[in-house]
Structures are given as C-alpha cells and as structure tokens.
C-alpha cells in the first residue's frame, strides 16, 4: 500500500512544478491520517472548509501530538520521553543542574489483570497515571515507559527533595481506591527507583536509565512498595566547602580586598618587584 502512495505523491509534486503550483488536498490522500485523528477523542479535526494550509497544519499537529502520547493514559510515550531526557542531558552537561529520573513500576500488576480482567488493568493504569501527574510539578514530565512501568523526569530537583517527592508518589498511589466495576474497588502499590543525572557530565539515556532501573530492582527485591534513590554523585561544592574556601584571610580581610580591587595600581608595584627580581 504505502510505497505506491509515496510514489504518487512524489510524482504529483514533480508534475505540479510544471503544471500548477497549487496542490489539491484531494490528491494528497489524507483520509488515513484524518481517520486516525477521528478515533482519538482528544485530537482536533481540521474542518473540511479550512484553507489547505490550515487543514494540513491541523492534520500534522494532530499526528505529531498522537506520536508523542500514550493512547491509553494520555501520558508522554517513550519516544517523547527519550527526546526530553536527551534535552536534559544536554542541559545538565552545561549547567550542572540537579535532575532526577524516577522509574516506577506497579507492583503485582499481572495479578490485577489475571483476577479482574484486562479492562480493570487499563483502569488501574489510567488511575495511577492521573495520580502520578498530580504528584509532580507542571515542569516535570511523567511518561508511560511501557506495560505497567512509568518514568518521571524532574528538572531542578535538589538531592534533598528527590526522596520526598518519590515518597509522596508512593503514598499517593497506595492510597488510591480504584473502582474497576460497580461492585469492586481495588488498591495497588508502586515501587520506585531513582537516579540523578551526573552533574556537569554528559551522560547517555542508556547509562542514566540503567542506574534508575537498578534502584527500581532493589526496591522490588526489598519487598516492593518502596523507594530507592541512588545517592547523588558529589560534584557540587557544598556551603561548608565554600565557607572554608572563602571564610579565611583571603577574602575576609578588608585590607586584602582593597588591594584586590585596585588591580591596575598594584600591577605597577608588581612590575617593579618583578624587575627587581
């Protein structure tokens, strides 16, 4: 199906260069794309009366949006998340900002599916997704990583905040009462593993997620419904270190500061000293 269609599109645009500069929408065969958007309740459909440019733009925007979202939960999908992770990696390499990656997995999810059916499983995934999004800041991104696994990226998250946020998520999920049928309400728990991006160093998606995964594995092994976060690599200069670096005679002495502030004047004195040497 698709190769001949691609060929038609190309041959049309070549022909159009000589025949006419206007592309007729009816020749572009956008029906499949339109149908895809029609099936997605949150997508905006282009009006048939829209100008060709607006029509195309709406279709393209809709497809881009679809390609970044997980259809069941509405969260970012893994493709979008990887893109965001890469962006954070680039930014951390330059800024040294503290960014936390959490990987979360619903405990014994298979049992939910086996006991209550797949529809109940879907409802659990949706309820947990909603809960995760409500637990983080608007600047954070929650993604469905696949199956019952979720991930969250938390930019500008100091090491003291990470465990607090993760613990809040764990408690909020455990407190959910999820109605899966008129007569049944179930509860689930979540295990969370976390790792910070190494500050000032350009990591890779693989290395970073592996470290968070390792912590998730530890949370699962330790009995589930737990949070494990890798200790942040200590590159940052602590307040104590800064205090010791600047607290002494070098900068504490007003006389020394006075001299340092008058660099041009002292350079003359220095030049004389150096020449004397």
């Amino acid at each position: 199906m698709s190769p001949p269609r691609f060929f038609q599109l190309i041959s049309y645009s070549v022909a159009s260069a000589t025949d006419s500069s206007v592309i007729r929408l009816s020749d572009l065969r956008l029906d499949d794309a339109r149908a895809l958007l029609e099936h997605d309740p949150s997508s905006e459909l282009p009006s048939p009366e829209a100008s060709p440019a607006v029509y195309m733009q709406t279709i393209l925007d809709g497809l881009c949006e679809l390609s970044l979202r997980d259809p069941l939960t509405g969260l970012s999908n893994r493709r979008h998340f990887n893109h965001l992770l890469n962006r954070e990696i680039e930014s951390v390499a330059r800024s040294g900002e503290s960014v936390l990656l959490l990987i979360m997995d619903i405990d014994h999810f298979k049992k939910v599916n086996d006991t209550y059916g797949h529809h109940a499983g879907d409802l659990v995934l949706q309820a947990v997704s909603k809960c995760l999004e409500a637990c983080v800041r608007p600047m954070d991104t929650v993604s469905r990583f696949g199956g019952e696994e979720f991930a969250a990226i938390l930019p500008n998250c100091p090491s003291s905040f990470g465990p607090v946020v993760a613990e809040r998520i764990r408690e909020a999920v455990a407190a959910l009462a999820i109605t899966v049928s008129p007569s049944e309400t179930i509860q689930v728990t979540i295990s969370i593993g976390g790792a910070y991006a190494p500050e000032w160093v350009r990591s890779t998606i693989k290395l970073w997620t592996e470290r968070a995964d390792e912590q998730l594995y530890r949370a699962k092994s330790a009995g589930r419904n737990r949070v494990f976060i890798e200790e942040q690599r200590g590159v940052a200069v602590s307040a104590d270190e800064k205090g010791m670096l600047f607290g002494h005679h070098l900068f504490g002495d007003p006389a020394a500061e006075g001299v340092a502030g008058d660099a041009a004047g002292s350079a003359v004195a220095d030049s004389e000293m150096n020449r004397a040497n």
């Binding site: 465990p163 613990e167 160093v201 350009r202 270190e241 010791m244 340092a260 002292s266 350079a267």
Partner: protein, 278 residues
C-alpha cells in the same frame, strides 16, 4: 520507607585512556571560562619553545577555544578536515608566531561537542601519531567539566589548572579539581593563578584550596589529591594590550611582568614535566 543507597562504582566517563607517551602531554584547563586559559596555553607554549623545546598546542575544546583569535591565525586546514578525511594531519599543523606548532580544531568541530565514540577513537589516533614528534604537547581544553574536557584531560599526564582569585573562578576551580580527583583518580594537579594583585597571592590561594580538599575530599580518599602551585601571573595592562593586538606577550612586550612570570612558569613546567617524566 525511603532509603538512600550508595552510588555504584561505574563511571560515566572512562577515567584514563591508554595513550602511549602520555607523559609529554599537559592539559591546560580551568573551572570557569574567561580566566585566561587559552592566553596561558599560547604564551606558555611560546616560552617553552624559546627554551629550545619542540612544542605543540592542540585546540582540544573542539572549536570553542579562542586559540585562533589569541594567535591571530586563521588556517585553511583544521582538525575538522583531518577528522572528515579531507586533509592529511601534517597539513593541519601550523607554525605559530611564538615558534611552536599549533593544531586548531576549526569551527566545524562544534558539532563534535557531543563526544561520540568514533570521535574519541579518531582523537586518540591523532594524538598517538602526533606526540612522538614533540617534546611537549599542550592541550587547550574547554572550561568546566563537560565530557569533552574530561576526555581531553584523560589523555594528559599532567593537568595545569588556570584560575583567578575571583571567588566564582575559585569555586569552579575547586569543583573541577574534585571531579578530576574522583573520576580520573588524579593525585596531582598543578595550579597557575592568573591576574593576581600581589605576588604570593597564588601560593596562599593554592594552600587554601588544598586545605579545603584535605578536609572534604582527601580525608577518606585512597588517592589524596595534591595541588602544586606552579606560579602566578600578575594583573598587567600589557596582557590586555597584547590580546587586543592579537599578539603573544613575547612579541608585544617581552619585558612586562606577566611575560616574566610566564617565562618562570615555563622553566618550572619544563623541569617538572619533562625532566621528571623522562
């Protein structure tokens, strides 16, 4: 319920790569940009050349270094052309005004700032073939602790860290020292303090940095880090004039205090690195 665990031992950046004759290679680096790292690299190279040494300065900031601006040298062939296979390595090496050789990265190298494994391999191969031709190779690295900088530093036996007495420069210098100690297990970092107001300031600053390191880093480390103060470069209006004229101090004002301090630095670098390393 939350627990915080110890970090695993895996390092994100490989600590040290096997480069033969690494002993001749010095990485000139700094925590913060704008402290005169490239200025020191170029003028130190010229002072070392004057002592009769064959010196190469390599722009290891992959195109973000200002070595071309400092030297007023805009070569047609750069490391970029060597990487892409357009030119031979020997054609990319130019003679700088100070009597030393220089290999510039070229602006096209900016795209390599993501250090792909192929780029590392190419870089290492180039270093392997270059180093035997010189007595000393200076790597003018980027500022900070990006993976490009850490990689460049990993190819050097000695690190010469340039800082100024400014608090922000010192904090960043301290952070860099910590990373180099932790990730590359460095035990010795050489310090030059640029733009000092008084002679002796650099010694005091280095002592101060060492004391903080001893207290916070060395105390439970198997690889205690030692800082070696290599010299101070005084604040000197002649430096600004040289930079504006895009000349080396040896050309514009060879007798100025900054030039004299760089001559002293060169002698210390020669005896510490070459005679020590041989």
């Amino acid at each position: 319920m939350s627990e915080v665990s110890n970090p695993p031992q895996d390092a994100v950046v490989e600590p040290t790569l096997a480069l033969k004759s690494r002993s001749k290679v010095i990485a000139v680096t700094s925590g913060k940009g704008g402290v005169g790292k490239t200025f020191v690299s170029a003028n130190l190279a010229s002072a070392l050349a004057k002592r009769g040494l064959r010196v190469l300065v390599l722009d290891a900031d992959l195109g973000l270094a200002n070595l071309d601006v400092v030297l007023n040298l805009y070569p047609k062939i750069t490391l970029h052309d060597v990487f892409t296979g357009k030119s031979k390595l020997e054609d990319a090496i130019y003679k700088a005004p100070g009597g030393f050789s220089v290999l510039l990265a070229g602006s096209g190298m900016v795209e390599y700032s993501r250090l792909a494994p192929e780029v590392r391999d190419d870089f290492l191969r180039i270093m392997e073939s270059l180093v035997p031709n010189y007595d000393i190779v200076l790597l003018d690295t980027g500022a900070g602790i990006s993976d490009v900088v850490l990689f460049a530093v990993s190819m050097a036996s000695e690190v010469l860290l340039v800082a100024t007495p400014e608090p922000t420069a010192l904090t960043d210098a301290y952070a860099t020292i910590k990373v180099l100690g932790a990730q590359q297990k460095r035990q010795r970092i050489r310090i030059v303090i640029n733009q000092v107001a008084r002679t002796g300031d650099g010694t005091a600053i280095t002592t101060q940095l060492q004391q903080v390191l001893d207290r916070f880093v060395n105390k439970d480390s198997e690889h205690p880090l030692k800082l070696i103060h290599m010299g101070d470069i005084p604040s000197d209006p002649a430096v600004r004039q040289a930079i504006m004229k895009r000349q080396l101090l040896a050309q514009s004002d060879p007798g100025c205090p900054a030039a004299l301090s760089i001559t002293q630095l060169a002698s210390k670098v020669e005896s510490a690195v070459i005679k020590h390393g041989a």
